[in-house]
Every structure is written in C-alpha cells, then in structure tokens.
C-alpha cells in the first residue's frame, strides 16, 4: 500500500509502496517509474518487507531538484534506509534503477545484503549501443520494451488516453519523470559505474529478459566481468520489462536467489 515518508527534515517527501513483512527488500524502479499497479511488488511482499519508493521527481515524490547525479541518488537511498531504520537490505533495481542500485551498493558496501540487477543500465559498449529511448515515440517504444508488444500487458503500458486533458497530464508526468532520468542517462547512460562496480561486495543476481532490445543481454556479461560474485539468469519470452511480461518467472528467480 501507498505511504509517504518525509525525510531529511522534510526536504524529500517520498511516495513509497510497501508490502509484507520479513527481511527488507528495497526496490529501485527504472526510468519510467512505478505505475501504481505493480503486482510483482505485492507478490514479493509474501516473503519480504518490500519498500518501493518513487525517486524524487517521480509521482508524488518531491525534492528532485536536490538530486543532480548518481551520487546524489545513491545517497538519497542511503538516507531513506537510515530514516526507516534499515541498516541493510536486499536491493533489487530495474533498468535505470539497476544502475542506481549498483551505485548505492558500491558507495557503501554494507548497504546491500544481496543485489538483484534486472536489465540494468550503467555501462556503454561501443559495439552494442543502447538505443536512444528518449527519442522514441510511444508507438515505437513497445518493440524495445517488450518481447511481445502486442500482448495485453504491453498494450496497457503503451495506451494513450482519449481525453485531451488526461493526455496533457500524462505527457506532463512522463516528461517530469524522464527529465529526472536524463540526469543519469542523457545523452549516454554511463556515469562512471565502471570505476566503482568492483566495490560491490553483495552476492549479485543479473536477471535479464532474453529479448531485451533496450539494454541487450550482452550487458549482463559486462556486469559479470566487473562485479565479484555474480550469477546470471535469462528469462524466456521477456524483453526489457520482465517483471510485467513474465511476472511468475521473475518473482521465482528473485525469491530463489534471495532465499538461497
């Protein structure tokens, strides 16, 4: 369920989705943010205390102007954990959230018990350029995000409201989110993680959609090269958004790794 945390003396107001109890699991979302309807979080809540904050600048979270780079973002997650009384947690990051999760774990190696990086950004390979998703239309985005862009779940993501006012508000919110993301990803999603990834001490699962066309699976190999203790798992019939497209396999992989 949704709750709000005021942290750093109210400088950040953080819209947070929380489910279940048990070992804490911090979920760090990607550039698109949470949708407000993210059943995989609730499902993970059956085994963990799931905490999924919206990054400032996303949804109802405020204070985005105080976060200008990946270090600011990592320190924001440290601060949030401190104020929630969680010295360390399992950290699961998706896409841009994978990049921020890796930074969060590298800048303080005691924060992450275990780390899951799903279809994570953070590196750049000249031979495998990541498409410029900022310049993609919603109509074009589907084939980059989903294994099957025609599936009902993909269509739900790519739907454009008929009501003009709703459309403007959707556009404003999308712009607000991606503007925040541009601080970490524009014009090339590389902010020097390669200098810091070696610091990551937590056992790390690299979980990838096999048909991810946005951050292709070859990038899982790049993480494996640079982080000490990794395991890689590819999900079939999944693109860049496996937790929506193949939720059961995604949840099973995360649960299996964190419980092992």
């Amino acid at each position: 369920m949704k709750t709000t945390h005021k942290i750093r003396d109210g400088k950040f107001s953080v819209e947070t989705w929380e489910f279940g109890s048990g070992e804490p699991l911090l979920f760090i979302h990607g550039a698109g943010g949470l949708t407000g309807f993210d059943p995989f979080l609730e499902e993970l809540g059956k085994d963990f205390r799931v905490i999924a904050p919206h990054l400032p600048g996303y949804g109802e979270s405020t204070g985005g102007e105080l976060i200008e780079d990946v270090v600011d973002a990592a320190l924001f997650y440290h601060q949030l954990m401190d104020e929630l009384g969680i010295p360390s947690a399992h950290i699961v990051g998706h896409s841009m959230g994978g990049m921020l999760a890796a930074e969060t774990a590298a800048l303080d190696v005691h924060r992450a018990k275990k780390l899951v990086l799903a279809d994570a950004a953070g590196f750049w390979l000249n031979e495998h350029p990541i498409p410029d998703f900022f310049a993609l239309d919603l109509s074009e985005l589907g084939s980059y995000l989903f294994h099957d862009p025609k599936s009902p779940i993909a269509q739900l993501f790519l739907a454009i409201p008929d009501d003009p006012e709703q459309l403007v508000e959707m556009y404003v919110e999308r712009t607000k989110r991606l503007a925040m993301a541009s601080k970490f990803l524009w014009p090339i999603p590389d902010r020097g993680l390669k200098k810091r990834a070696h610091r990551i001490a937590a056992p790390t699962l690299l979980l990838w959609g096999e048909s991810d066309r946005l951050v292709p699976p070859i990038y899982a190999g790049e993480f494996a090269k640079r982080i000490k203790n990794t395991k890689t798992e590819m999900l079939k019939a999944a693109g860049h958004m496996p937790m929506y497209e193949q939720p059961e396999a995604f949840i099973a992989a995360v649960r299996g790794f964190l419980k092992s």
């Binding site: 712009t175 991606l178 014009p187």
Partner: protein, 434 residues
Amino acid sequence: MKFTWFHLMPYRYLPDGFKDKYRSVWVDIPRNLYDPKIGHRLYNDYLDQLELADRLGFDGLGVNEHHQNGYGLMPSPNIMAAAISRRTRNAALVVLGNSIALYNPPIRVAEEFAMLDVISGGRLVAGFPVGTSMDVNFCYGEVPATIREKYYEAHDLILRAWNEPDVFAFNGKFTKLRYVNLWPKPLQQPRPPIWIPGGGSVETWDFCADHGYQYSFLSYFGYKAGKKVADGYWNVMAKKGKEMNPYSLGFAQVIAVANTDKEAEELYAPHMDYFYNRCLHVYNGFADAPGYRTPSTIRAGIVAQVGKEAALRREGLTWNDFLEQGYIIAGSPKTVRERLTEAMKSLNCGHLMMLQQIGSMPPELVRMGMELFAREVMPHMRGLWPNFEDKWSPNPMPEPERAMPAPIDLRRIETNGKTVHAASPAAHESRSAK
C-alpha cells in the same frame, strides 16, 4: 518599423522524396547529402545576399545558430557575422544568437560578441537563445533537466563580464573561473542590445520582461499562428506594468514579393513546398527532449514548431492555404504591404525578421524579392509606430569615425610583386551555386 533581413542558410539541394526516404532534416540527416563544393557556393551566395541587404537599406542582417541541420548551415553564426562585418556599413549585425549554455566556458560568447561589436563599430545585436532541443540536447548532448539553469548562469556570467570594471572571480555551478577579465570589451556601452529569440517557452517572456530585453519569436507558422505567442508575451508585459512598446517584440515572417500576386505564386510556390516539406521534416522524437519544455509551457498548449503535430498541421497545404493561414505573406508589393501592415499591427510588432530566402530559392529570385521589398514595401511601412522609441537597436560610432576597409580588386591578386589575374570578369559573375 524596423526590418532585419534574416538568413537561415539552407542547403538548397535536398533530394526529391527526402521526406519519405529520410526520417529527419535535423540531428541525424545523412552526411552524404552534403556536398562541400556546393556548400562553398551557397555560403558565398548567402553572404552576398546579406551584404546586398545592407546596401538596400535594411536595418539589420540576421544570422542564427543551428547544428546538424539541413536548412540551417550556421553552427557558428559569429563566423558569418564576422564575414559580413567588413563589407557592410550601416545595418545592425543581428546575431540571434549564441546558445550560451553550450559554450565552455560561456565567457567565449562575451569575448566573441565583444570582438564583433568592436570590429563593426558598434553594430552588434547580441542574441541569447536557450537553443532548440534538437540543437542543445540531441546534437550537443546537454542534459534537458539542467539546460535552463545552465543558460541562466551563463547569462549572468556574460553580463557581469561586460559590466564589471575590474577582474572578478566567478563561482558558478557549471562554470568556475578565477580570473574573468574581458579583452576586448564591447564598443557599445554599457552593452550591446540584447534580443532573446524564443520558440514559445512561457519562461522566456518573464525573462525578457524582467531584464528589459527584446523578445523575438522565431516562428515559421506565420503571423496568425504567432498571435497566441505574441499575446502571451504582451500579457506578461502588461501584468508587470511594462511599456507595450512594439520595438520590444521581434517576429519572423516568410515574405515572398513579386510584381503581381499571380507571378508570386508561379515563382515562389515550389520553394515554399521545399521549405515546409523538406526543410521542416524533423523526426518527432527529436522535437522535444523530456525536460526541455517546462510543465507550464506544455500546459499552455504551445505546439512545438517541428515534429508530428506541426507536420500534421502542414500536411497537404497548398499555396492558397499557406497564404490564408498566414504561414507566408506573398504577392504584389501592394498585397504584401497591406498584409504585412495588418500582421504587424495585430502582433504589435516593431522589429520584423524577414525571411526572403528560404528553402531552394535561387539567388536571382531572392534578389528580385529583396529589391521589390526595399523599393516598394519598406518605405511605406517605416512610419508604422510614430509614438514609440526603438530602444533595442544598436548605437554605433558615427559613420565618419569608423574605419574603412582598404579597397582591393579580388580579380587581380598581387603575390611577390607579380600581379595574377584570378579569373575573367565574365566567369566571376556566373559563380553562384549550380
């Protein structure tokens, strides 16, 4: 009424079917479409046109900055302004302008503008655009979320560099300099006039109103569509209790003059089609990087000039549509006079940026249009705003005090005491592009 003769410097030879074969004229336009030998002739044709505009009595010569763009071949407008500075005498050099957030450090702009002002005897108008999203975000890689903050900081640095009497240190967020000390300083004191070109961001209206800068709306949609933006600007000016002086607004308008209305259509229609359907063919994904426009601008419903929505508006438009919807003002001198007067009055605009060369227009046609406008339109509109003072034009040194470039004959070049004939006069006259 003042007239700035504005050039975009387009590539005139984009192939037929460009719109269907390629996704964008801007950002990722294929490099192999550019032939530098043709480019050589084009630059020289265009510089000739700007120089002619000075001799014909236009008040300003306009150049601007675009990158990786098939219709705007001026990555550095300062180079063009420098090139025309010595063969023009009277017109203002309207550099509209430098995207100041792109220069590292931005003091470079303060320096180059000061150079232009000094070399031209004080004829510079300094333009400070944020720059389009295509230019600043996609071509030059600036982060959309911080481009405006960087722009404002660069502006503050440049203004201080022009104004402060002594060396100072500047500790900005984006630029840190221990010694800011401008050599040369601008000739116009305290500074050259500043014009801010905009594409319709609501923040720019406040910025202009607060600083007393001229706001130039550079639109290709013409005066009817432009009225919404002009009204937005005047509303802000009125709310802040500023003078509604028409000279504090500049407006770009495509103008095509011929001897008769019919002749205008015959001569110009293909070039309008080239401009609106090839030159403005910009991939929708490049139109508006997220964060480039603020939520207030998006909510104000101001449509970007390029991209899908703009293209849909233009889809299938004919010559008559372009005329009726005000994209262009075209026809005989009498028609143009009437339409343009109506347009300037409806916008309350005192500084017209005229686009008389657009798209594929060849030099002879451009020259005809310029001469007709200068002779038969401009003089009739001079007195449109008798009750207002133009506080936004340059204040140059008196002509007799200004340096005169040494006369040279380019056809006879002297080297090591020998005189070489570079070319026969006949060949020289026919050296425009293609």
